[in-house]
């Protein structure tokens, strides 16, 4: 392995000092002169028509600057296909906006909300995905008959993947030694719950100038999506450090558009930040996912056929459901080398707060429901799940349909080594006692182990464009619109440039996440930061270096290729003694602009496997997570501590714990989310940390100069199904109802009757 100066070494995050001193300015830490505060009046009903709405009294309250209803908000539409208005004459979930207020203080805005009088005509509501597609179900949208969203070509192009149909499914089942069939679901709709609630400041000036300060993982996506829809205005999007996102703050229109509308109405900057209750009850959750599936298998664990109906509950609208379904369908193929498929998704709307994108992007939701069907087969064939996953995970030369609908052939590496090393680290051989057999028993406490797998071919998704500007004083500035949301990617790209240009790390900077300064950047999503953004960054740095050497070569009387640079000086390869600083040729007024561009490449899937050990108290039904081992191969570690942070993240952001205690509790008579506070919504604390270990391999990938690939997005996704497997093994009964709260465990053990379905 090459020994780099920065790559692979732990270096402090560039923003570390600001973070530990509290100087980092998150969106709610900003104040702009004359700023107003926005608030939303939220619907008490899950489905209703607004009969009348009277804002007179609210308008009269001193300090109120604007009150908007569906009658006076701009008609910008969002979602896929464009169908969500800022405010509508119909409400489709409890918590949906009914009116917007801008006022001088938050308190005044809040009081004003209470003065708005609304008359509703209640409509029947529907929450269950299968109820919703019945002919007599209440209809949410005129344009989506049967409550089914169409696939949308805007998402990933004209052939956006909307099913997996490969080979001959009948033949596949005929070839099988046996067939297993069942319905499994991942419908506890957990909330990724970043600590910072969604927030924005918007300033609309004159007729067509809009500035937005966004807490968003992809602030420029807002611009890309809405500039045209708003009438080709001048739109500047500014990204602030993001207080956690896990995907959920990527599509920021849900919180940005109300603020923009209020600013447009008042001509003043408007800050609009969700409160935590709003965040938990009226912001996006994970997709609901239910699969009626059938798997044909051979005795050796070869899967000959997979058919299924994937019912996707998107809640009240589709933020990006079509995209998540497309990626989920792709990811199913990565985990399963099967020749015959007939896997058909259906995207359904229901009367609860919508599902949006979350780390795992459709794939986690799919895996959580699909894996239990596969494990039935594995159990029947009596194959070890680790062997099964090893055999079935995509290998170089295997083909798969990816989200764009194209057939891609894997150019990646074989992850078998990572699997072997992970199993070794975990002690799988010793702990695995066979299906439905505990690893150990101590009184009422039963331990069991389980394993899950996930991977994504999006690590090389989409275009990224970057400029690297060399300054005469021997520093480099990266013009890249990447937002920092916790992965440390803004620092990591500095390391890449520092390495290419051999500059001290503190001489490399990234421009603010400002659309006026940077080329368009879709953002660090889908683990694309390392390969896609990194690829563009490296190319730009190399381009800048080439230009620098062209400029300096005459001075040394050599060819540009013969030059080398270090710490802002140039020298001839092999003759480091004679060095000339950049400034000598660049002059103090000159700069060099290198350009780099990355083009989509879906041929290199990444990989994550999670091993879990749980302990189940069979008298109380409590499940404790004892140990977690993650294994992956990243080609080349860029920053070890940032990587382990991301790997540890498997516990958070509605990951592993969505199998243990995380859930959004929806009362389906009222349409209300009952646990919309941080006591009743369960998250992992410092007191419940399992032992955590990772095995990280570095097998060079054919990606870029550093042969690395990103994995941050996928770390939580293999976990939930691994926990189901572990608990089933511990208690000797198959159990599959996420999350495995004591009621479900005790019921599986036959100690109590079956608790009623939650949804």
């Amino acid at each position: 392995m090459k020994d780099y100066r920065f790559i692979g070494k732990s270096t402090p995050r560039k923003d570390a000092l600001d973070i530990v001193t509290g100087r980092t300015k998150f969106i709610n830490d900003l104040t702009i002169p004359n700023m107003l505060y926005g608030k939303v009046l939220r619907s008490p009903l899950p489905h209703a028509l607004i009969k009348s709405i009277d804002t007179t009294e609210a308008m009269r309250l001193q300090g109120v600057k604007a009150v908007l209803t569906y009658k006076d908000v701009p008609d910008w539409k969002a979602g896929f296909p464009h169908h969500v208005r800022i405010l509508d004459s119909k409400v489709r979930y409890v918590g949906e906006g009914v009116a917007l207020v801008a006022a001088e203080t938050e308190d005044i805005a809040e009081e004003a909300l209470r003065l708005i009088k609304v008359e509703y005509e209640p409509l029947p509501a529907v929450y269950d995905v299968e109820e919703s597609i019945k002919p007599d179900a209440p209809q949410l949208y005129d344009q989506f008959p049967g409550n089914v969203f169409p696939q949308d070509n805007v998402v990933f192009g004209p052939h956006t993947l909307n099913e997996v149909v490969i080979g001959d499914i009948e033949k596949g089942f005929e070839e099988a030694d046996f067939i297993v069939e069942g319905t499994y679901a991942y419908e506890n709709i957990p909330n990724p719950l970043p600590p910072e609630s969604p927030g924005v400041i918007a300033l609309w000036e004159g007729t067509d100038n809009l500035t937005v300060w966004l807490a968003s993982q992809g602030p420029q996506i807002f611009k890309a999506a809405f500039q045209r829809r708003m009438g080709n205005i001048n739109l500047q999007s500014l990204g602030n450090p993001v207080g956690g996102s896990y995907g959920s703050k990527y599509m920021s229109w849900q919180y940005a558009l109300p603020a923009v509308a209020l600013s447009k109405a008042t001509g003043k900057p408007v800050k609009f930040c969700y409160g935590k209750a709003e965040h938990l009850a009226a912001f996006t959750l994970r997709l609901g996912s239910r699969i009626h599936g059938k798997v044909g298998m051979k005795k050796d664990g070869t899967v000959t056929a997979l058919s299924g109906d994937w019912l996707v509950n998107s809640g009240s609208f589709s933020e990006a459901t079509q995209g998540m379904v497309a990626v989920g369908c792709g990811e199913a193929q990565l985990m399963l080398r099967c020749k015959n498929w007939s896997f058909i998704p259906k995207m359904v709307c229901t009367n609860r707060t919508a599902s949006g994108q979350v780390r795992g992007f459709g794939g986690q939701e799919l895996k959580c429901a699909l894996t239990p069907i596969l494990t039935m087969g594995m159990e029947k064939a009596d194959v070890d799940p680790v062997d099964f996953f090893k055999k079935n995970y995509v290998k170089a030369g295997d083909g798969f349909y990816w989200r764009d609908g194209d057939w891609w052939v894997c150019r990646g590496i074989d992850y078998s080594n990572a699997i072997n090393q992970g199993a070794e680290t975990f002690g799988w051989k010793e702990k695995w006692k066979g299906w439905l057999k505990p690893t150990s028993v101590n009184g009422a406490k039963y331990r069991g182990v389980g394993v899950g797998v996930h991977g994504n071919a999006d690590a090389g998704e989409d275009v990224s464009e970057v400029y690297v500007r060399l300054e005469p004083n021997g520093s480099a500035i990266i013009h890249c619109g990447i937002a920092e949301h916790g992965t440390g990617q803004r620092s990591s790209i500095c390391k890449m440039v520092a390495e290419v240009l051999q500059l001290p790390l503190d001489r490399v900077y990234v421009t603010p996440t400002d659309s006026l300064v940077n080329p368009i950047e879709i953002g660090p999503v889908g683990s694309r930061g390392t390969y896609a953004i990194g690829g563009a960054v490296i190319a730009a740095a190399e381009d800048a270096k080439r230009q620098l050497f062209e400029l300096m070569a005459p001075k040394f009387k050599v060819k540009p290729e013969d030059l080398e640079t270090e710490d802002g000086m140039v020298y001839v390869k092999g003759k480091p003694d004679k060095r000339i600083p950049w400034i000598k040729e660049m002059q103090y007024y000159g700069s060099i602009m290198g350009h780099g561009r990355f083009e989509s490449d879906f041929s290199i899937p990444n990989f994550m496997m999670i091993f879990t050990e749980v302990e189940v108290d069979t008298e109380t039904g409590k499940v404790d997570l004892i140990r977690v081992v993650g294994t992956t191969d990243v080609g080349q570690v860029i920053d070890p501590l940032s990587l382990t942070n991301q790997l540890n993240g498997c516990l958070g952001s509605a990951g592993i714990d969505s199998a243990i205690f995380e859930e959004t509790v929806l009362d389906t008579r009222l349409g209300r989310i009952m646990n919309c506070n941080m006591i009743d919504y369960k998250w992992r604390t410092f007191s419940e940390l399992p032992e955590m270990e990772h095995s990280i391999l570095e097998t060079p990938f054919p990606t870029h100069r550093f042969h690395a690939i990103g994995v941050g997005e996928i770390t939580p996704s293999p976990g939930p199904s691994a926990v189901l497997m572990a608990v089933s093994n511990a208690i000797g009964v198959r159990i599959h109802d996420y999350p495995l709260t004591p009621d479900k465990v005790l019921s599986a053990l036959g100690k109590i009757g079956s608790p009623m379905r939650r949804e």
């Binding site: 530990v20 001193t21 993240g649 007191s687």
Partner: protein, 174 residues
């Protein structure tokens, strides 16, 4: 929103934050402190000390943790008017105000990249600071206990524990 009741028992208020005294008029105006304001709100909106974060605003996440007379408390669960005559320390008050050298605990967080998004970090540092003040060489379990009221959704816990333990080992609490 005028109150028909008689005035509160005081009309001005003085807070001691990070060693400095700040006086406010009581009221609802833009620069005043209202009786219903929480300390977190006052620190952020009146004193510009935005290092203290608000997440749950309900006592459940610890993002708003500050020290009062050296003890970790959640500033979203305190009324500002009840914080007079107390020594309030926020994240901005750590480190040496003269040399600008940060607290060794903060340095240890930097060295261990003991954060991801960093939103929870000030609150976690303040809780850890309170612990080290009382117990300069805690066990890992004692650190977990002291931080058990602090939410971190990125799961930076493991690095945080390393950072606090390393700071303690270095006697990071002078």
């Amino acid at each position: 929103m005028t109150l028909t009741l008689e005035k509160s028992s005081h009309s001005t208020l003085t807070l001691t934050v990070n060693g400095e005294k700040h006086s406010f008029m009581l009221g609802e105006g833009p620069h005043e402190v209202a009786s219903s304001h929480t300390l977190a709100h006052t620190l952020r909106e009146r004193l510009g000390l935005t290092g203290t974060k608000i997440s749950c605003d309900n006592g459940a996440c610890g993002c708003c943790t500050v020290l009062i007379n050296g003890k970790a408390v959640q500033s979203c669960m305190l009324l500002t008017v009840e914080c007079e005559e107390k020594e309030i320390t926020t994240i901005e008050g750590l480190g040496d105000p003269v040399t600008n050298v940060i607290d060794p605990l903060q340095q240890s967080f930097i060295d261990h990249t003991a954060f991801q998004c960093g939103f929870c970090t000030p609150g976690i540092i303040m809780s850890a600071k309170a612990l080290l003040n009382e117990n300069p060489s805690p066990t890992r379990d004692e650190v977990k206990e002291a931080l058990s009221g602090n939410f971190c959704r990125c799961i930076s816990h493991y690095h945080v524990l390393d950072a606090v333990m390393a700071a303690a080992k270095k006697g990071g609490n002078q």
